[in-house]
């Protein structure tokens, strides 16, 4: 093969390739333009360093958090894990008192009517004492 033949082949193949580039259809051109814009956006976007951490760093973080959680749980003083026993009992007693219905007490208005004389007496005594102390 002589030099002339080789250069003819090179020239013709180059021209054919250039022609084929010129005849790329509109669908492909449009998709290439979209791809270019996406690439330019990617270049303009600042790199998110947090997301670029390797996988092992996030695994190590999760492990460290788990170890810390266990240490806090078992390292805390006894009785702090939940409500103390005594406090629970006291609260239950209060609840009993509040909900208990005294047979003799009845409704509040009834109780007031039963002791109305006592309240009159107490009020009079108080008034006397106040006037005495003033006089």
């Amino acid at each position: 093969m002589n030099e002339d033949s080789a250069s003819r082949l090179e020239e013709r193949s180059r021209r054919l390739f250039d022609d084929s580039v010129g005849s790329v259809d509109m669908r492909v051109r449009s998709r290439l333009t979209q791809a270019r814009h996406a690439a330019l956006e990617a270049a303009a976007r600042p790199a998110n360093h947090f997301l670029r951490f390797p996988l092992w760093t996030s695994a190590a973080g999760v492990t460290a958090a788990a170890v810390l959680g266990v240490a806090i749980w078992f390292g805390a003083p006894a009785g702090h894990h939940g409500m103390p026993v005594m406090e629970t009992q006291s609260n239950l007693e209060d609840l009993d008192i509040v909900t208990a219905s005294d047979e003799s007490s009845g409704a509040p208005m009834e109780m007031l009517q039963d002791d109305i004389e006592f309240y009159d007496w107490a009020a009079a005594k108080t008034a006397d004492a106040e006037s005495g102390s003033v006089g």
Partner: protein, 205 residues
């Protein structure tokens, strides 16, 4: 200012006002846009010749654009072209490997087999119907089809060297960067490719 004997010397040493980083970034984006716009169709055709599938070719070109923009946009613009083609070649090779694996797997699956080689593609399909230039276009399409078939029969490195040097006009040093080999290897691959193509296509092509 003792180091400047005269005012004219000082002016020569001063290389203009300091530019804001935003302006520099904007210029770089514009330059990258121009570079990619100038190369995208050629890269697509090169990938299509090798992969024989327009969608796969679009995917690898898009991927190469993204990788170049993300990783090498800050490099001097005269380095972009060989880097871009290196990324593109790697993408094409990866896709061809995946295809080979898929083909092996598909051989075990009963049913209609796909046509990954795209040999059934007819050059006449790519020529627009009608028009005064239709016979000329048909001849060109046929010649290009013959060239593509011959290129596919070349060893990968010879094909790569021929396409980068001849189609893309990369010089020997740029081709060596794009191919990841020495300049001597580029010359050898290219020379062998030209000889092989000449033999395959014949003197009349």
């Amino acid at each position: 200012m003792a180091q400047f004997a005269t005012l004219s010397h000082a002016r020569m040493a001063w290389d203009g006002p300091v530019r804001a980083p935003e302006d520099v970034a904007l210029d770089q984006t514009r330059e990258l846009d121009q570079f990619l716009a100038g190369i995208e169709r050629r890269a697509f055709r090169m990938a299509q010749v090798k992969l024989r599938d327009p969608d796969d070719a679009l995917d690898v070109v898009q991927d190469a654009m993204l990788k170049l923009a993300r990783n090498y946009a800050a490099k001097p613009s005269n380095e972009w072209r060989p880097l871009f083609y290196r990324i593109l070649e790697n993408g094409i090779r990866d896709l061809q490997r995946r295809r080979a694996v898929r083909k092996r797997l598909m051989a075990w699956v009963p049913g209609p087999q796909e046509d990954p080689e795209g040999e059934s593609q007819d050059p006449i399909d790519s020529v627009a119907a009608g028009g005064p230039d239709a016979p000329e276009q048909l001849m060109q399409a046929e010649a290009m089809n013959k060239l593509e078939v011959s290129l596919r029969e070349l060893p990968a490195r010879q094909r790569e060297a021929f396409m980068l040097r001849n189609f893309e006009g990369l010089d020997v040093a740029e081709t060596a960067v794009a191919m990841g080999c020495s300049e001597g290897s580029v010359k050898t691959h290219y020379s062998r490719a030209v000889h092989a193509l000449r033999e395959q296509l014949g003197e009349v092509w």
